[in-house]
């Protein structure tokens, strides 16, 4: 009996302690289990580093930040109840998605209806921000990424280059491919043939055999690193010696582990130059991430870190955690230093403008080559 009483008092004490130090609650959902759990884990660690560093420096407007984290299993049918729970039960004032497009797109509607500012840290489906004016995206859309790649190829290999495209057939891959083909046509590049494959594909022997016969000047590959690793290794094993230009999602140290020497010399348009010293928190972030995760940071971790930082920055600028004021402050963001590159501005639908970094794999590391900063090509579509 006595024990129960003590427990009850302790529980009540905890409850009071919780409400006494007022916290700013920010909702965060990412896949912690299931096939996408790897990226979800990196995203969460990235977001937590941002939370801890903000709090170490005294928090936002005198209040500490609390991340309320849920596992969405990369499923839309999970992210919707999570969004409702974050709003109704946890009473968050803002939310961030550390998840892929599917769950993010579904949750965006809920946050839109509840008027809660929401950032999709790296989900690239165009519809996420189209739900209304409460959703923002912390990463470039696929289309400008693809256009940037076309420009890079035309600049480097000449405007008459013939290109073989290897495209992953999900919404991420398709949107990049669309942008690439549009810009390639405008620049005069020839797309010899486009091969498509699924997210689960690891065997590219038949595609490589056929691509060999196409005899293009450059190969442009779009896919996640776990598809891209086996892909480039098999391209090289199949005897193709053309330069490979790849899309952003190749950016993972796992690429080198999987593809080994075959990864050498691959250009990544939208990559992350690991040797960069700007912004000031970039190198400390890489070190802290490695310490916490035990492996090197991926772009998704940097995206989530920057999204939390951006949300906190908007709250500071708004001088309030009132969702409407935070939303307005987010929309007014100018020249915010993200780890993946400076965020110039948000357009009217919440899409950011940011230059694209091009990296190359050299001695097993991502090294910066150039930066594409061209408003005409990279301006976010509305």
């Amino acid at each position: 009996m006595q024990k129960k009483f003590i427990a009850a008092v302790a529980a009540a004490g905890l409850l009071f302690a919780g409400s006494a130090s007022a916290q700013i609650k920010i909702g965060f959902h990412a896949p912690q289990s299931g096939p996408a759990a790897a990226d979800g884990k990196s995203s969460t660690i990235g977001a937590e580093i941002a939370r801890d560093w903000i709090n170490e420096k005294g928090g936002v407007n005198g209040q500490k930040i609390e991340l309320v984290v849920y596992d969405d299993q990369n499923k839309p049918d999970q992210s919707v109840p999570i969004a409702n729970k974050l709003i109704g039960q946890d009473k968050v004032v803002a939310a961030i998605s550390g998840s892929y497009s599917g769950p993010t797109r579904a949750a965006a509607t809920v946050f839109q209806n509840a008027h809660i500012p929401y950032i999709s840290a790296y989900g690239v489906h165009p519809d996420i921000t189209k739900e209304g004016n409460w959703a923002f995206r912390g990463v470039q859309l696929g289309q400008p990424q693809g256009k940037g790649a076309a420009k890079f190829i035309a600049d480097k290999y000449g405007k008459t280059s013939k290109v073989t495209m290897l495209t992953m057939n999900n919404d991420f891959g398709q949107s990049i491919a669309d942008g690439f083909k549009e810009e390639a046509k405008a620049l005069g590049l020839t797309v010899v043939k486009e091969y498509t494959f699924g997210l689960g594909e690891r065997q590219f022997g038949p595609i490589v055999a056929s691509a060999k016969a196409d005899n293009a000047d450059v190969i442009y590959a779009i896919g996640y690193y776990f598809v891209g690793g086996p892909l480039v290794a098999q391209v090289r094993a199949g005897g193709l010696k053309q330069p490979i230009v790849a899309a952003q999602a190749f950016d993972s140290m796992k690429l080198m582990e999987i593809a080994k020497d075959a990864a050498e010399g691959i250009y990544i348009v939208g990559g992350m130059d690991r040797g960069r010293t700007t912004p000031a928190d970039f190198q400390p972030f890489l070190a802290e991430f490695k310490k916490r995760a035990g492996y090197d940071a991926e772009a998704v971790a940097a995206n989530c870190y920057s999204s939390v930082m951006l949300m906190a920055d908007a709250m500071k600028r708004a001088g309030s955690t009132d969702p409407a004021k935070v939303r307005d402050a987010l929309a007014a963001t100018k020249n915010f230093a993200m780890l993946t590159g400076p965020l110039g501005y948000f357009n009217s639908v919440g899409e950011l403008y940011s230059p694209l970094e091009v990296t190359v794999v050299k001695d097993g590391k991502f090294v910066g080559v150039t930066v594409i900063d061209d408003q005409a090509i990279l301006a976010p579509p509305k």
Binding site: G198, F226, A233, E257, I258
Partner: protein, 287 residues
């Protein structure tokens, strides 16, 4: 030339399907269970090969451990998951099997990490043999050779040895076989041991081929192997082998010529639907 190369590449992958599907079809023939967790054993084999090979530097040791662990895992699955519920309707073990497969996938994720594991040293991965313009990596060659050796070995065992004949007798008529003194439970254990070891080897080879072992690597294989055994005529080993190789080749051509319309993984099922429309009992199945 491309035509020939696509056939060869398709056959190499078909050999992997064969190693995977033979175990499934044997289980079905013996127990009438659609053993989906077999794909979990496939991934388990891959994990054993990659972790042991990375720790010890010996691929051979990796495969040896994979054979033993996968085989024992197969026996454990039979003894602990299937045997207690054999008297239930066929869908009950199937549901159990699906659940078991999900548990195994999440188990790999928790034990080995959400990120996949690559081999530290995988010399055969990119190295390849170019014969008459056809490039085959050493791993693809190994896949073909290993599949032929194991499947032919199994054929000889089933056709010539006493234990093999007992096995076949049990599959054909369990009651008659029992009355001739064959222990059906021992046959089942042997069945799971052999089929699972084969799946483990296939998993290890696919791990080498992709140079990547990931928690979900059994996913696509699980339902494709099911399609194969249905295609081959449920329970028919010969039909399964033919279906495996055919699917490998059909997919190879599909990946190049049909991928704009169908995902490679969908091509197998399209093929399955077409075949079942013409031959509802499968390629070599009996009505």
């Amino acid at each position: 030339m491309l035509f020939v190369e696509l056939i060869v590449k398709g056959l190499a992958y078909g050999c992997m399907y064969a190693m995977m599907a033979v175990g499934l079809t044997l289980v079905y023939g013996l127990l009438r269970i659609l053993h989906i967790a077999h794909a979990g054993v496939f991934a388990l084999g891959a994990y054993m090969v990659v972790t042991v090979a990375n720790a010890s530097g010996s691929l051979a040791l990796g495969f040896a451990v994979a054979v033993v662990v996968s085989g024992l895992a197969g026996i454990a699955i039979y003894r602990l998951a299937y045997q207690p519920i054999l008297h239930h309707a066929a869908f009950v073990p199937m549901v159990v099997s699906i659940g078991l497969f999900i548990v195994m996938q999440e188990g790999f994720r928790m034990i080995f990490g959400a990120y996949g594991i690559a081999f530290d040293n995988n010399p055969w991965y990119v190295a390849n043999l170019g014969i008459a313009g056809i490039n085959l990596t050493y791993v693809e060659i190994a896949m073909i050779v290993v599949a032929i050796v194991l499947v032919v070995g199994f054929g000889l065992f089933a056709g010539l040895t006493r234990a093999g004949i007992g096995w076949r007798a049990t599959v054909t008529d369990p009651q008659m076989a029992t009355s001739f003194g064959i222990d059906p439970v021992r046959v089942r254990y042997l069945n799971f041991l052999f089929g699972s070891a084969l799946a483990g080897i296939a998993g290890g080879l696919v791990g080498l081929l992709n140079n990547y072992v990931e928690p979900t690597m059994g996913g696509a294989v699980s339902y494709k192997a099911l399609a194969i055994i249905v295609l081959g005529g449920l329970g028919s080993v010969r039909g399964t082998l033919i279906a495996s190789l055919t699917l490998g080749v059909v997919e190879a051509f599909g990946a190049v010529y049909l991928a704009d319309v169908f995902d490679r993984d969908a091509i197998g099922f399209l093929f399955l639907i077409v075949v079942l429309m013409v031959r509802p009992q499968g390629l070599l199945g009996r009505k």
